[in-house]
Amino acid sequence: MAKVKINGKDFEVPTGQNLVDAAENLGIDIPHYCYHPGLSIAGQCRMCYVEQPGNSKLQIACNMKCSDGLEVITDSPKVKDAVKWSLEFHLINHPIDCPICDQAGECGLQDYYMEVGKYSSEMREHKQIKQKAVDLGEKIVLDKERCILCGRCVRFTQEVSKTSELGIYNRGDRSVIGTVNDEVMKDNYQVNTVDICPVGALTSKDFRFEQRVWFLKEVSSVCNGCSAGCNVDTHHKSGKHIYRLKPRYNPEVNEYWMCDDGRPTYKTANYDHRLTAAKLGGVELPTNEAVTTWMNDLRTLIATERTDEIAAWIHPDLTSEEITSIVKTLRDEFGISQFYSEDADKSARDDKTVDQLLKRADLWCNTQGFLKVTSALKLKLGSLNQLEERLAQAKINHLVIFGSEKNVGVQSLKRIRAALPADCFTVLISPRLQNAELFSHSLAIPSISHYEKNGTIMNWKKIEQKLGSDFRMFKSAWSVEEILTSLSQEYQRPQKEVSRA
């Protein structure tokens, strides 16, 4: 630890920590644009001025490491004036088109303008004219006029994704961000540059013009794109629609970043992809009635000791709690013994890095948790091939499918559908509409999507991470635990003898 003095107060901070970060942790805001803790130090935005006693020249905080005896002042009139002017320099050629800019509401220029701005601009000359709405490929649009040339995006492609696709071209106030020969970007981590862009210069095609950021709420979650388990914030509006995912800092997993393949995983949670009501043979019914209907069939089989005709299909992107609840209810309570799943052992065995960065080959987000829970509960699991075989032999009369919302799960579901005999009673529990359409004759019960879940998943490094969602998008969609608890209550409810239809 180092003893430092900031604004006359003594603090103890980790030795060697960057002053901007140290101050931020202490609740002292040092304005900055070009500095980003995950990138090298550029020192070019000239916003993070601090004063050092005995030094008439202002220093930049981003190039200072905390060490014993460091003494700085961040709020003197001299510093404030310098920051105000630095911001003014940033703004003189900026178009100030906030009303039509997607960054409005989360823009560094707006934030600091309110805090330290020089409200009456004296710039009366023509602004520099640069290209607007430059297409950088499938994912990003660049506005060169809004760009403040902090260079974060350039350093990102040089230092993190290592594609060096972006660069700063030209000199002086003609400087612009761009790619070589205006080629499109192919970087699979490029949307991170949109996140770290402090202004509205780089905007994501997926998000731009979709929603004003001040309507969005953030909930912490974990990406379900692969076994990396990148920490994300889910940005949703009133719990009705998810608009984007942004990486959340976790030094042990993903630092500040996530890959572009993980970004659109929220889409399956939104209305267009969702099973929003329980259905029986295509006819909608309330979710509780659907559970009763399910129980009725199940009860008959249990009562007649035909539980060996019941099977369940599960997959490794359910949370550990969901898997536990499935095993406890279906096996321990109802005596169902046949469980089939994707080959999690193989997924874990074949898991490897795809790009030396974050992305992993295993596309299931909870393979490790699945293995841990199933082995702790000593669950005997069959493979997809074995399930197909049993279905073909018509030895299964009642099949419970926990259908994944991911595309990768659909392939297996298609195979199961193909092998399914017509008279097998099928219950599909899934958030995904496409799955329900695949099993259109069955009983479909809507469950919640990954980004609405509250539970635990384990990534490839065996780090257990919490999904901390607090919103539900559709009343009719229940969590797997809720469905099973309801089922269990239904089972325990005294019933009249009902024969199987």
């Binding site: 000239r46 320099f89 004296e122 000359e125 106030d173």
Partner: protein, 454 residues
């Protein structure tokens, strides 16, 4: 041998009259007029490479060598005036990393062309200085970073280096001392900022010529993150003389704090513009009259830019009362800088001069730091509004505050290089700006030139 300039036709030396003038004291330029002094045999016949032999044949202790240069108190001739010996001394003694010496021949400061004389006529003096400097800082490789536009000079330096290799002054085991040294010429691509030492290092590394954040300083982490010394051409050319004649002899010349001589490139309204070498400390008045032949056409001196375009301007009175050394010029609020002297007579319009400079600095700002990138453009636009007679009275204050907020706020000093002149012109020649305000059609604050786009 690589012909750097083979695609250029009709390249030729700079036209400059190098005849010694009364009042000059020539240490470096002593033999500049000797025909073919740029070739090795002629240079050797005039005592060339004796200093190198003195150092290497006696295997002079490196500490002693650095002490000798420190003793001469020679200061960097590129502009900053930092003591050269101290700079060499900052290089860490015990590192595993290779060391580098870079010769800054990217002479681009408007008004400065003295290095060009050395490069074109006395390349061996610079090379000799570089080898001695490299020996002092234990650099196995040095680079001459030449301004891209200096095509003829590049050719001359390149040939001189080849000659030095053949004569055994470069290469393996130089003069049997066991010291190996390689020297490489690198041409710039025409950017002023690459003359800034860390900008030069970035450029040499193959990157965009952006100055680097300090600390770390180049002496610790410079070219390829190795200890590096960057010296000006003239500074390095001083080294052989210091070794040959001793630090004491050098220190005796000039003033106690500005030792030795300085090469001045004089342009503007004087009878004899050119490159002159005079003892530090001579009065400007004498320099103007004796060396430069007085004002052209008998006109009156109005202002003096003493040390290249980035030096704050001096009034005629200040100029006439100052002596040509670092301290005296600094006491008048300007700087000796690179010694690029621009003399302006009473027919000159200083607002136009300043606007012209602002255009240059706007063009050459690398665009890295915000105050410089945006500020240089803004200053130029405001000055343009003056020359277009569109300025408002408030613009005087605006020029001042804008400049004040650029000084000392950036990675390198390019922002200061225009902001300081702006402040000095405003302070010393307010009448010049007043002339434009008087004639301005937009004296009200609701200026007609207000036009926002976006």
């Amino acid at each position: 041998m690589i012909k750097h300039t083979q695609h250029y036709k009709n390249i030729r030396p700079m036209y400059v009259d190098l005849t010694p003038q009364p009042g000059e004291k020539r240490l470096l330029m002593e033999h500049v007029q000797v025909p073919n002094i740029h070739t090795l045999p002629v240079y050797e016949s005039k005592g060339g490479y004796q200093a190198l032999k003195k150092v290497l044949e006696s295997k002079m202790d490196r500490e002693t060598l650095i002490k000798e240069v420190q003793g001469s108190a020679v200061r960097g001739r590129g502009g900053a005036g930092f003591p050269t010996g101290n700079k060499w001394n900052f290089v860490p003694k015990n590192t595993d990393k290779p060391h580098y010496l870079l010769c800054n021949a990217d002479e681009s400061e408007p008004g400065t062309f003295k290095d060009r004389v050395i490069l074109e006529h006395l390349p061996h003096m610079m090379i000799e200085g570089m080898i001695i400097g490299s020996y002092a800082i234990q650099a196995a490789r040095s680079y001459v970073y030449i301004r891209g536009e200096y095509t003829y000079a590049t050719e001359i330096v390149d040939r001189a280096i080849q000659e030095a290799y053949k004569a055994g002054y470069l290469g393996k085991n130089i003069l049997g001392s066991g010291f190996d040294h390689e020297m490489v010429v690198h041409r710039g691509a025409g950017a002023y900022i690459c003359g800034e030492e860390t900008g030069l290092i970035s450029s040499l590394e193959g990157k965009k010529g952006w100055p680097k954040l300090k600390p770390p300083f180049p002496a610790v982490e410079g070219y390829l993150r190795c200890p590096t010394v960057v010296n000006n051409v003239e500074t390095l050319a001083c080294v052989p003389w210091i070794i040959n004649h001793g630090a004491e002899a050098y220190a005796k010349i000039g003033t106690p704090k500005s030792t030795g001589t300085k090469m001045w490139s004089v342009s503007g309204d004087v009878t004899r513009p050119g490159v002159y070498e005079v003892e530090n400390g001579i009065p400007f008045k004498d320099f103007l009259e004796k060396v430069c032949g007085g004002m052209k056409g008998g006109r009156k001196l109005k202002a003096l830019i003493p040390g290249g375009s980035s030096a704050p301007i001096m009034t005629a009175e200040e100029a006439m009362s100052c002596t040509l050394d670092y301290e005296s010029i600094a006491s008048k609020g300007s700087m000796l800088g690179s010694g690029g002297m621009v003399v302006l007579d009473d027919s000159r319009d200083l607002v136009q001069v300043l606007k012209n400079l602002a255009e240059f600095y706007r063009e050459e700002s690398c665009g890295q730091c915000t105050p410089c990138r945006e500020g240089t453009g803004w200053l130029e636009k405001i000055l343009h509004s003056f020359t277009e007679r569109q300025a408002r009275r408030e613009d005087l204050q605006l020029l001042k505050t804008t400049s004040q907020n650029m000084i000392g706020r950036t990675i390198c000093v390019l922002a200061d290089s225009i902001a300081m002149p702006v402040l000095s012109y405003l302070e010393k020649f307010p009448g010049e700006f007043e002339n434009y305000l008087q004639g301005s059609s937009n004296t009200s604050s609701m200026s007609g030139r207000v036009k926002h786009n976006g």
